[in-house]
Amino acid sequence: MSSSPAHSARKEHPFTDSTEPNLLDDVFDYSLPPKIRFDGPIVEYIDGQPVQFDPQAVKKRDIHITDTTFRDGQQARPPYSIEQMVHLYDLLAKLSGPNGVIRQTEFFLYTKNDRETLDRCRALGHKYPECTGWIRADKGDFRLVREAGLKETGLLTSSSDYHIFNKLKFKSHKHCMDAYCEVVEAAFESNVRPRCHLEDVTRADWDGFVLPFVDRLMRMSEQVPEELSCKIRICDTMGFGVHFPGVELPRSVPKIVYKLNQECGVPSERLEWHGHNDFHRVHANGTTAWMYGCNALNATLFGFGERTGNPPLEGAIIDYISLKEDLCGIRTEVITEIADYMRSIHFPIPDNYPLVGRHFNTTRAGIHAGGLRQDERIYNIFDTTVLLNRPPRVNLTDKSGADGVAHWINEFFGLKGDDRINKIKCHKVARWVMDQYEVHKRETSISDEELEVKVQELMPEYWEKYAPRR
């Protein structure tokens, strides 16, 4: 591509008038999250050479989500009770559906409560998510994994020199690598698959440590049965990863995945991305890892995790559907059920949080409410009523206008199509709303409870007709 595309790429774009809207409803078909389509290869320069990636491949690969709500998610909050974790695990299984889109979830194994939680979750009998463990890189900890009867455990193999030298006080890369490999060997001997967590890999010395270490892990894996071979979790511990092409290592998500997948030979099914949100890139980075050859995306419910959090699991679910162009057995409405449960146990979810916040599909501007009233697709991302059990709503303020009031009233009564009440009939309520601001100088939005009282008072004929059937 020229460095001056404004000059070299200019061309005429002929105008053909149309009297019919082109709603692009193959991509935005409303019954699904909008599909993600590709129209060509992605090119990334690796060691100075152009490498093509076929983005269509992600539609066929067995990409999936792994959960760390009970591990990383729990590091950022007071512990969940056993009952809460068992219930959340049950909901994750329900959300995942029969195809194991949420393939695994990991548990601490250190306390009696950790082990009881694990036992009770497994006793539910769900095939997915499979329960795995998480331990420090300590040979003695494999006893815990064995006693818990787990087939796989994550173990910390911190990879940046910040950790190797400054935290763990190893004398050299070799000293560190030998120590890690001893633990991996212990895992093999315990008949447990090790999942090596390359902690802080986005500011690690790739040529000096990461690549030779993973090469060695792959050589070790060749000596054991396939079901024991090492998995690699790519840990963007500080959120330094960058998803767009052209970025150099160690921050480039595309290059990280390529190097491990193609140069070290870690198969896609044994590669996992684990991110953090310190620079607001966590979700894009996770999906990007999928795109470039990593099959597993590690996530937490509502992105809650250490410091700024992890890839939000529900966001990964939506991108999964967008990429696969199919629900694949996922029960998306359970996202709302989980959010309601989390609120009931005092888990904070901001009102504007995507997909589950109280106001994620609530509009306040009257002109938007007018659009919603005419065709809800205009201001709603997809059929949130069906997919998330959350109809689009309006929140009333002085900006809502009569359109907003009419939309609220129709949603309140659950009226569809020709049954919907036009805004002329809502004028008394609209006037009351405006007077709150113009006359009474109100500064807060109007609650649903207040509005319900006013509809009953000012539209008694409609209240009598429709309220009983709510």
């Binding site: 206008g401 009569a402 805004k423 002329i424 009939k425 004028h427 006037r431 405006m434």
Partner: protein, 84 residues
Amino acid sequence: MASVLERVVRVTATVLRLDPAEIKPEHRFSADLGAESVQSIELVAMFEEEFGIEMNEDDALSVESVGAAADFIAKVCEAQGVKV
């Protein structure tokens, strides 16, 4: 009996709190008489009540001036069999 235009002027004056004598047929509700969004809705609702008719929301709200409103309402009354 007052004409349709006189009744439209009276309702308009009441809703917009204006002196009826100042309202002319050529006056536009929004640009000349200062009707705001909710007041436009109230005007249509009050015209419906005054004349005992039902108006199409979008058609009614697209009428711009007092005189045009009187003409529009007269036609709706005729179509709905309401004597004016």
